[in-house]
C-alpha cells in the first residue's frame, strides 16, 4: 500500500487515491489529427519499467489531480507535483 505525498495534503495512504494512468498529450484539432496519432493518444502508453510518470487523484481527500513519478520496480515514489508545475 503506497504512501503518496499529495502536493496539497501531504502523505496519505493509497486507498484515498485514484489512479489515472500515464498522461498523454491530447492532439488537436480533430480535423488535422491522423487516425494513427489519435489511436496512439487513446491507447499507446510507454509502460516504463523503472521511473514512470502517472496521473493520480486524491479522490478521498482534496479531489485534486496531480502528477507522480513512481518507480514501477521498487514502487518508490520519486516525486509528486501539481499539474502544470515544471516537470
Amino acid at each position: 500500500m503506497l504512501l503518496i505525498p499529495c502536493p496539497w495534503c501531504g502523505p496519505r495512504s493509497e486507498p484515498e487515491f485514484q489512479f489515472g494512468g500515464e498522461p498523454a498529450t491530447r492532439p488537436v484539432p480533430a480535423a488535422e489529427v491522423s487516425d494513427a496519432a489519435w489511436g496512439a493518444y487513446l491507447y499507446v502508453r510507454s509502460n516504463e519499467k523503472g521511473p514512470h510518470r502517472e496521473l493520480w487523484c486524491h479522490a478521498g481527500g482534496c479531489g485534486q489531480w496531480f502528477l507522480m513519478e513512481r518507480d514501477t520496480v521498487t514502487h518508490a515514489v520519486l516525486r509528486t507535483h501539481k499539474p502544470g508545475a515544471a516537470a
Binding site: M1, L2, L3, S13, E14, Q18, G20, P23, R26, P27, V28, P29, A30, V33, D35, W38, G39, L42, L55, C57, A59, G63, Q64, W65, T74, H75, V77, P83, G84
Partner: protein, 982 residues
C-alpha cells in the same frame, strides 16, 4: 503422555471441559487445544491431505502442519461458533469447545479412506495432471475433492462482527521475545510512539519455555517489568503481523476470541510504521527419515514447550534425534521430568551439550540418526543407525521421537518487504542479507544463537530505529550471562534409503520421492517444484518444509542450496479469515444504500422497493391483489390518460458555475450547450474520449454563468469525476467550478395530460403558462412558500413538470401533490412503469440500450458532430473508419409479429448466411405496451435505420426459439411529440 503434577504456569485450579471426537475431556485454563489433547493422551488428531495417513501434533505454534481441527463452541455472548480449520496449537482452550478431526471418516482414528495409503505408489506428485485429464478433469473433481482436503465450511452466515483499525507509529516491533522486548524498550525510551506486537497471549516468546537470567534476575521478571515500563506504547498480544506491504504498511490480525469480552471478534490493523524492528524468531525444521510423519514424531522445541509451558510430558521413552545443540534443552528437561531419553546426534562429536545430557542420564548415540519408526497410530519403536552405515540398525522401544533438524529464521516478513536472503553454510539456514530501508533485524531472525545475543541485538535495533528518527537514547542494554558457543550444526537432509517414504511437507503429503520425480521430469525450478508437488502450498505455507524441500531438490539436481533459491514469500503469514478482511464492509454497510427524501411515503403508498445502483427506489406501487406486472401496466396507463407522480430525487444534479462555464461545458458535451439561453433546457449526450456514450441527461442553463446538469442517477459520480479531470488536467485556465447538489433537492415529477390542471392548484410564484414555461425550460420561484424550481422535461412523452424543493420538504411535497391531484386521478408510478413509458417513446436508457461500444450516431444523434466546431470530448473518435462504417448497429424499434409475445431482452436478430445463423444485433428493451395494447421492443441492429425505412421483417432467435418482428423507428407513441405540449 500425561500432565505432570507440578511445574509450568498452567492454572491447575481451573479445569476446562471440552470434547474431542465427542469424548469428554478436561484441560486447564491456559492450555492450548493442542496441549490439552496431548495431556489427555490423544495421539492421532487428523488424516493427511492426500494419503489419509494418521497424523499427530508436531509443533506448538503457527508452524503446526498437522493439527488442523474442526472446532465448534458457544462463545461468551452465546453465539454458536465454528472454525472448520482451527490450528489446535494456536487455539486457546475455552470451556465447551468441541473439536473433531477433519479429512477422516467415520473418524480420524478409524478412517476408511486410510486404504488410499496402500495405493500410494500409484499416486505420485502430479498424478492428477496425468491421470484425471481424459476426457475432462471436472468429471473427477467432485470425488477427489470429497476425499482430499481439510475442514468443511458450514453454509450459514458468519454471525460474528469484525473490525478494522488504522494506526500510525514511529517504531513497530514485530515479536515479543527477548529481542523484540529489548528493542521496544530502547525505542520507547526515546519518547517515540512504539507498537509491540506478538502472536502469543503472553509476552516473552522463547523465554516462556527457555527461561534464563536477565539483568541478574529470572527472565520472566525482566519481561514483566519491561512490559510494565512500556505503558506509553501500544501493546498488541495475540496479534500476528501477517503481511508487509509497500512503504512500511503492515497488516496485523488481532485474535480476540479468548481475550476479554469486546465488541468485535478478530480485528484487522492497517499500520503504517516509520521504522520497523523485525524480531520474528526462527522455526525448527523436522528431520527427514522413513515414516517421519507418524503420530508421535514431534519437534524437539515443541516437546520442550509443552513440558515447560503446560507441564505436558509428551512421551515417557523418548528418542531425541538432532543435528544441532538446541535439542539438548529438550533432552535435559525430559530427563528432569523422569523420561528415559536416548539421543541420536548426527554429529560424530556432539560437544559439551551432549556430555551434560549424558550426565543427566541420557544415552547419547553420536554420529547416529533415526532411520525408521514403527506404530501406525502412535510410535512404539524407533530404529537408530550410524549415519555412516544406515543398514546397521538398532530397534529401541519409544513412544515419542523428538526431532530437530536445525532452525529456519522466520524471514517471511523480511522477504515480503523485498529483502534478499543469503544461505549461511555454517548455520545451515537462509538468513536476511541486509535490512531494507527503515527496517532493523534482531534475535534469531538475524542469526542470534544465545539469549545474550538476542538481547544485545534487540537493544541495538531499538537504538538504530530511534536514531533513524533523530532520537537519542540513554538506556543500559539488558544483559544475560555469557554462554559457551554451541557446537556447530551438521546439515542433515533426507536419508539415502531406497524404497522408503520420507515426508517433507506433512500437510500436503509431499515426500522425498515426489521431489525426486519433479526433478526427473525437469521441474527443476523451485517455483515449478512448488506447483507440481504442492510443496509448501498448504495452510502452513511450508513453514516446516520449505528448506528441507529445497535441499532435496538441490540434491536431485546436483546443485547447491543457494543455487536452488527459495520460493517467493507472500502474505499472509497465517490464514486470515475473510470476515476479518471485510471488517464492517459487508451487508448493509458494504455499499450504503441511499433513500429518497419521501422514502417513508413510498412505503406507506405500498411501493415495491428495489435497489437501482446505490438507490432504493419504488419499482411500482402494487395495490392489494395486484401483481407487479399488473401494477406497472396500470400505472403506465394512468400517466397516458390522467396523471402520475414520480419521485425523481435520485436524478443527478450538478451545478456548474463560473464565467467560463459555457465554454467549458461546450468542450465536454457532445451537444451544443453554449448557445442555450438562460431558462432553457437541452437533452445532451456525454461521450468518452473513445467516442462512446458515457451518459445522457438534460442540461439546463440557469444563468449566463450557471448551469444545472442532470446525469443519470447511477452516473452522477462518474460525470462529476470526469468534469474535474478535464478541468484540472486539460483546461485548467477556464474559470469554472462544480458542485454536486443531488442530495440537497427533492425532485418530483407530475406527468400526464392532466398535469397542468394539478399544477394550477399548487401555490407557486412561478408563471406556469406555456408561453412562460414551455417544454424544455425551467423557472425558479416559490413553491408553497419554499424556494424551488419547476422544469418542463419529460421522460414519459406526456406533458410533465419536475418540481424541486429543498430535500427536507420532499416528503411533504409528495403528500401535497397526491392531495392536489386526487380529483384528477393522480397515480404514483415507479421506475418499472416509467421504463415502459419511455420504451413506448423510444427514449434510450444508457447502459441498457447502449453498451461500451455505442456511438451517438448509433443512437440516431449525428447533428452535433457536423455542427459543432470545438474539439469536444470524443470528437476525433467519431471520425475514425470504425465509427463511420455503414454496417454499425443502430438503435431501432421492433414490433413482434405476435403482438402477445414479448421477446426477452438479449434476443438476437439473425440472418441466414451460408447455412448458419449470424447475429445482426439484439433486443435491449422489451415490454407490453399499454398504449399500443401489444408487445414492443427496442434494440441495436446492423444497418437498422435502413431496415426500418424499408419496413423489413427480421428473424428473432432466443434459446432455440425463433420468431419474427418488423423493424421500425424507435418511437411507438406520439412520434410527432404533440402530447409533450398538449
Amino acid at each position: 503422555m500425561r500432565r505432570l503434577p507440578d511445574g509450568s504456569r498452567i492454572a491447575r485450579a481451573a479445569p476446562v471441559a471440552f470434547t474431542w471426537e465427542g469424548r469428554p475431556m478436561q484441560g486447564l485454563a491456559g492450555d492450548t487445544l493442542a496441549s490439552a489433547l496431548l495431556a489427555n493422551g490423544v495421539r492421532v488428531v487428523g488424516r493427511s491431505f492426500k494419503y489419509h495417513r494418521p497424523r499427530g501434533i508436531f509443533g506448538a505454534w503457527a508452524e503446526e502442519p498437522n493439527a488442523i481441527l474442526d472446532l465448534s463452541w458457544q462463545d461468551r455472548a452465546g453465539i454458536a461458533r465454528h472454525d472448520p480449520n482451527a490450528r489446535a496449537t494456536m487455539v486457546e482452550l475455552l470451556p465447551g469447545m468441541a473439536a473433531r478431526g477433519v479429512n477422516g471418516w467415520p473418524s480420524v482414528e478409524r478412517d476408511v479412506y486410510g486404504l488410499i495409503d496402500l495405493a500410494h505408489r500409484f499416486l505420485p506428485a502430479g498424478f492428477y495432471y496425468k491421470t484425471f485429464m481424459a476426457p475432462d478433469w471436472h468429471r473427477y473433481e467432485p470425488g477427489i475433492r470429497r476425499m482430499a482436503g481439510l475442514g468443511r465450511l458450514h453454509d450459514s452466515a458468519d454471525p460474528l462482527r469484525y473490525e478494522t483499525r488504522h494506526a500510525h507509529c514511529d517504531v513497530l516491533v514485530v515479536g515479543g521475545g527477548p529481542a523484540g522486548i529489548a528493542a521496544a524498550r530502547a525505542a520507547a525510551a526515546s519518547g517515540l510512539r512504539v507498537m509491540l506486537v506478538d502472536d502469543r497471549a503472553a509476552w516473552g516468546g522463547s523465554l516462556l519455555w527457555q527461561g534464563g537470567t536477565i539483568d541478574d534476575r529470572p527472565a520472566t521478571e525482566w519481561v514483566a517489568d519491561s512490559i510494565a515500563g512500556l505503558a506509553e506504547a501500544t501493546l498488541l498480544p495475540r496479534t500476528t503481523v501477517f503481511g508487509w506491504y509497500d512503504h512500511n504498511a503492515l497488516g496485523l490480525l488481532e485474535r480476540r476470541t479468548a481475550a476479554a469480552a469486546g465488541w468485535a471478534e478478530d480485528r484487522l490493523w492497517h499500520v503504517r510504521a516509520r521504522q520497523v524492528v523485525l524480531a520474528t524468531g526462527a522455526i525448527e525444521r523436522p528431520l527427514v527419515f522413513p515414516d517421519n510423519d507418524r503420530p508421535g514424531v514431534m519437534s524437539a522445541a515443541a516437546v520442550l514447550q509443552y513440558l515447560r509451558e503446560y507441564a505436558v510430558l509428551a512421551g515417557e521413552r523418548v528418542l531425541v534425534a538432532t543435528n544441532n545443540d538446541t535439542a539438548y534443552d529438550t533432552v535435559l528437561a525430559l530427563c528432569a521430568a523422569g523420561a528415559a531419553v536416548t539421543v541420536a546426534d548426527a554429529r560424530t562429536d556432539p560437544g559439551p551439550a551432549a556430555r551434560r545430557a549424558a550426565e543427566a542420564g541420557a544415552r547419547i548415540r553420536a554420529g547416529s540418526v533415526v532411520a525408521g519408526v514403527g506404530g501406525r497410530r502412535g510410535i512404539r519403536w524407533a530404529e537408530v543407525a550410524p549415519l555412516a552405515s544406515l543398514s546397521t540398525r538398532e530397534r529401541l522401544p519409544a513412544d515419542l521421537v523428538a526431532v530437530s533438524g536445525g532452525w529456519s529464521p522466520a524471514v517471511h516478513l523480511f522477504s515480503q518487504s523485498g529483502g534478499k536472503l543469503r544461505w549461511d553454510e555454517a548455520e545451515a539456514a537462509f538468513l536476511p542479507a541486509t535490512p531494507r530501508p527503515g527496517q532493523h533485524l534482531a534475535g534469531a531472525l538475524a542469526g542470534a544463537a544465545s539469549l545474550a545475543a538476542c538481547l544485545a541485538g534487540g537493544h541495538r535495533a531499538g537504538l538504530a530505529a530511534a536514531r533513524a528518527l533523530d532520537r537519542h537514547v540513554d538506556l543500559a542494554p539488558p544483559r544475560a550471562p555469557d554462554t559457551p558457543a554451541p557446537a556447530p550444526i551438521q546439515a542433515l537432509w533426507h536419508l539415502p534409503l531406497r524404497g522408503t517414504r520420507q515426508w517433507i511437507d506433512f500437510q500436503n503429503d509431499v515426500t522425498v520421492k515426489d521431489v525426486a520425480l519433479a526433478a526427473a521430469e525437469n521441474y527443476a525450478s523451485v517455483e515449478h517444484l512448488k506447483r507440481y508437488t504442492t510443496l509448501g502450498m498448504a495452510t502452513d505455507q511450508g513453514k516446516t518444509s520449505n528448506v528441507n524441500g529445497l535441499a532435496a531438490l538441490a540434491a536431485f539436481t546436483g546443485r547447491e542450496i543457494p543455487q536452488v533459491g527459495t520460493t517467493t514469500f507472500r502474505p499472509p503469514f497465517v490464514p486470515v479469515s475473510l470476515g476479518a478482511m471485510a471488517g464492517l464492509r459487508h451487508s448493509a454497510l458494504h455499499t450504503p444504500i441511499r433513500h429518497l427524501p419521501a422514502h417513508a411515503e413510498h412505503l406507506a403508498d405500498g411501493a415495491e422497493m428495489r435497489e437501482y445502483g446505490v438507490w432504493l427506489r419504488p419499482a411500482c406501487y402494487p395495490r392489494a391483489g395486484e401483481t407487479v406486472a399488473q401494477a406497472i401496466q396500470r400505472e403506465a396507463a394512468a400517466v397516458r390518460t390522467q396523471a402520475g407522480l414520480f419521485d425523481g430525487s435520485s436524478l443527478g444534479k450538478i451545478e456548474v458555475h463560473g464565467p467560463d462555464a459555457a465554454a467549458f461545458l461546450n468542450l465536454i458535451y457532445y451537444n451544443e450547450v453554449a448557445t442555450l439561453k438562460p431558462g432553457r433546457i437541452r437533452y445532451c449526450l456525454l461521450l468518452r474520449e473513445t467516442g462512446t456514450v458515457l451518459d445522457d441527461g438534460v442540461v439546463a442553463r440557469i444563468a449566463p454563468d450557471r448551469y444545472l446538469l442532470s446525469p443519470s442517477s447511477s452516473h452522477t459520480g462518474a460525470v462529476l469525476a470526469m468534469l474535474e479531470l478535464w478541468h484540472q488536467t486539460e483546461y485548467p485556465s477556464l474559470r469554472v467550478a462544480f458542485h454536486d447538489v443531488t442530495a440537497a433537492w427533492a425532485t418530483l415529477a407530475v406527468s400526464g395530460p392532466r398535469s397542468r390542471d394539478i399544477l394550477r392548484r399548487l401555490h407557486t410564484g412561478i408563471d406556469l403558462s406555456d408561453a412562460a414555461l414551455a417544454h424544455m425550460s425551467l423557472a425558479h420561484g416559490t413553491i408553497e412558500d419554499l424556494p424551488g424550481r419547476i422544469a418542463r422535461v419529460s421522460f414519459t412523452g406526456e406533458r410533465s413538470y419536475e418540481i424541486s424543493v429543498p430535500a427536507g420538504y420532499g416528503a411533504a411535497l409528495w403528500q401535497h401533490l397526491l392531495t392536489l391531484g386526487r380529483d384528477d386521478g393522480i397515480t404514483p408510478y415507479g421506475i418499472e412503469s416509467l421504463s415502459v413509458l419511455r420504451a413506448e417513446k423510444g427514449y434510450i436508457l444508457i447502459g441498457t440500450d447502449s453498451d461500451g461500444m455505442t456511438l451517438p450516431d448509433d443512437l440516431g444523434m449525428s447533428g452535433p458532430l457536423r455542427a459543432k466546431k470545438v474539439d469536444f470530448v470524443g470528437k476525433r473518435s467519431l471520425l475514425t473508419p470504425d465509427a463511420t462504417r455503414p454496417d454499425r448497429r443502430q438503435f431501432v424499434g421492433l414490433l413482434p409479429a405476435d403482438p402477445g409475445f414479448v421477446p426477452a431482452v438479449g434476443t438476437h436478430a439473425v440472418v441466414q448466411e451460408g447455412g448458419a445463423r449470424r447475429s445482426i444485433g439484439w433486443i435491449t428493451t422489451s415490454a407490453h405496451s399499454p398504449a399500443l395494447g401489444r408487445s414492443i421492443a427496442l434494440g441495436m441492429i446492423e444497418r437498422g435505420r435502413a431496415l426500418a425505412d424499408a419496413g423489413a421483417e427480421v428473424e428473432l432467435f432466443h434459446l432455440g426459439q425463433a420468431s419474427r418482428a418488423v423493424v421500425t423507428a424507435p418511437c411507438f407513441h406520439d412520434p410527432a411529440g404533440e402530447k409533450l405540449h398538449g
